[in-house]
Symmetry: C2
Amino acid sequence: MYLSERKKSILRTVVELYVKTAEPIGSKAVVEALGSTLSSATVRSDMSELENLGLLEKPHTSAGRIPSSLGYRLYVNELMLSRNISNDDAIVINSTLDGSLAVRPHLLDEVGSLTSRLTTYPAYAMTSSTGIISIARFDFIYVDSYTFIIVALLSNDTVKNKLVHLTAPFDPKILQKLTAIFNASFTGIPEERVTPTLIMATERAVGDTSGIVTIVAGFVIELLVEAKAIGASFTGAVNLLDHPEYRDIDKAQRIIRYLSDVNELVRLPSPDIAGEVKITIGPENLAEQLKDSSVVAVRYDAGGDMQGLIGVVGPTRMDYSKVATHLSYIAKGLSLLLSGTNPLVSGAAKTSKIGDEDIGEN
Amino acid sequence: MYLSERKKSILRTVVELYVKTAEPIGSKAVVEALGSTLSSATVRSDMSELENLGLLEKPHTSAGRIPSSLGYRLYVNELMLSRNISNDDAIVINSTLDGSLAVRPHLLDEVGSLTSRLTTYPAYAMTSSTGIISIARFDFIYVDSYTFIIVALLSNDTVKNKLVHLTAPFDPKILQKLTAIFNASFTGIPEERVTPTLIMATERAVGDTSGIVTIVAGFVIELLVEAKAIGASFTGAVNLLDHPEYRDIDKAQRIIRYLSDVNELVRLPSPDIAGEVKITIGPENLAEQLKDSSVVAVRYDAGGDMQGLIGVVGPTRMDYSKVATHLSYIAKGLSLLLSGTNPLVSGAAKTSKIGDEDIGEN
DNA sequence: AATTAGCACTCTCGGTCGTCGAGTGCTAAA
DNA sequence: TTTAGCACTCGACGACCGAGAGTGCTAATT
């Protein structure tokens, strides 16, 4: 679609003013914002053409115009200026990420809440494993004659343990047998291969009648299932209420309910490669509930074969540039933190759809 | 405050109708609900007296009446009928709790979301330790010449571990030294006593110059701090929007924001003993933000010296009986699950402020 | 051909006004 | 003590109206 430079800057202005004010933008306001000497009538006819092209629309006859989804799309693809993250925000992000390292179990929550605070939109964060996880090594620690600890080192370099309390005393020597046989038969295999047959064979080999083998095998299955499981977190839902498009309580509720369902979260749009920012605008969303909202998501490298995803959901009237910048910065920080690599620097990835002029901050 | 039986049942009726409809209740509606042959004029004069006593109030001259906080308080203390939990709800609770045992790290979230779903109000769940936690025992597992695992058994019967990757190879023999000295010097002591002096002394004793001792000691501190930390979860905030008293978005937002702050959560009203349900109505709340909301909370025994708290926040127009029943049932289930004891059966505790007539379900 | 001034037209927003109805309080009678 | 009757109050709701913002069109200008 060919657009004259003037039409482009009018479209850009309408988008940016509308993002800021949430009010339909009239021709006069555009002239003013452009600092142009054009008359409002001229701009008016241009805007009318932009409307015919489906880039702008009117809420009603006598109001100004607002961008259509197509208008936003064109803006995001071609008109949007990338910006640098503000120093303050960078500091907040860095210190939050540094501090979160200690609380790994709630890392996703932390990241989500950080993202949500910075962008003022609800945020979601997820991790999932891309590879197949197995156990690399077993150890058993004797505590007392009723108690021992199982320690398992997983193939993704995490360690899990379980304290086992038996109701009857056991012979400490059995722990050596367990160590030998579990390291021989249960390492390097995925969850599907921990079969009842294998467990029973192990029981016979160890000569165990007390059920210890079953307990340990149960722990193994639990671990492998858990390792496969994705982690997901959805934070900052209240923030939605800040934005006038969700003033309608029912609408806000519908969308929050939708996003609170982990099963739906995993279906949200997701960029293909780490570091890339994916912007999905209004009806481009597959989910019915998101047809008039937008999603901005970024992928990060969570170390090992773990991949992570952070995203933000808000009205189509969103400051895409700012949100993309924030997400991208956070993802970069997380990748660095968790995997020691920076996808944006190291590879072909780039923040898609974002120009590279620099208009500074704010 | 003496009240005739008739006035009591009028008050009860007003509360119950108002809880159901959220509309001010007129004298005629009361007569109807009571199935009484009294005339509305009689009820009217009774209601007028109840208003003089501060138990009812009028939103405006020509509307019906609604209970005042005092009215709710009297209702909760003396008029409310306890009820049994419905079979369906019991099944939901039991199966959710059983299923949650596996996902301990998110137990609080699960419990909160369960509570929130059943009551239709936002729920919070917390645990904290009442005792002082120390490490009972250390083990070190050799993985390879750069890598070892620290395993620590805490005094509350949980096990923690950490995988340590060094940049330079280490002598496996040092692990034995570490085992000996950490078990001798770092067990049974609280976090405050893990001082730099102790760490340096340990370093000298082991003859460590590579910083391994510092790493292990850092892990110890991290563990003890984390063990002291409370866990808190706030779930189901959207549910607030279901209730007409939070139709005002700003009001809803204020209260959700308030409850999203963990530091505030810990100050919410809390019953003194496990199993007891504590109901705090409107202005009885200390927090300014909760002056026109109510809180219902219950304490449970989380095993070891862990105590847990579940609570629900909603409008003063709340079905206290139903909420109390649900909370109490969930707390009972959790206590049983986590500590094997049932406080309601085993001790002096009772669900305070709840009568014992039985009006069945719903 | 592009731009502009001028103008009639459209539609929303906010305020005012009047009606309706639910519910009350009071009085006087039962 | 209870009740019927009645005047009164007040919010909810809808109709109406004027102001203001913005548009599209036309005719004149560059």
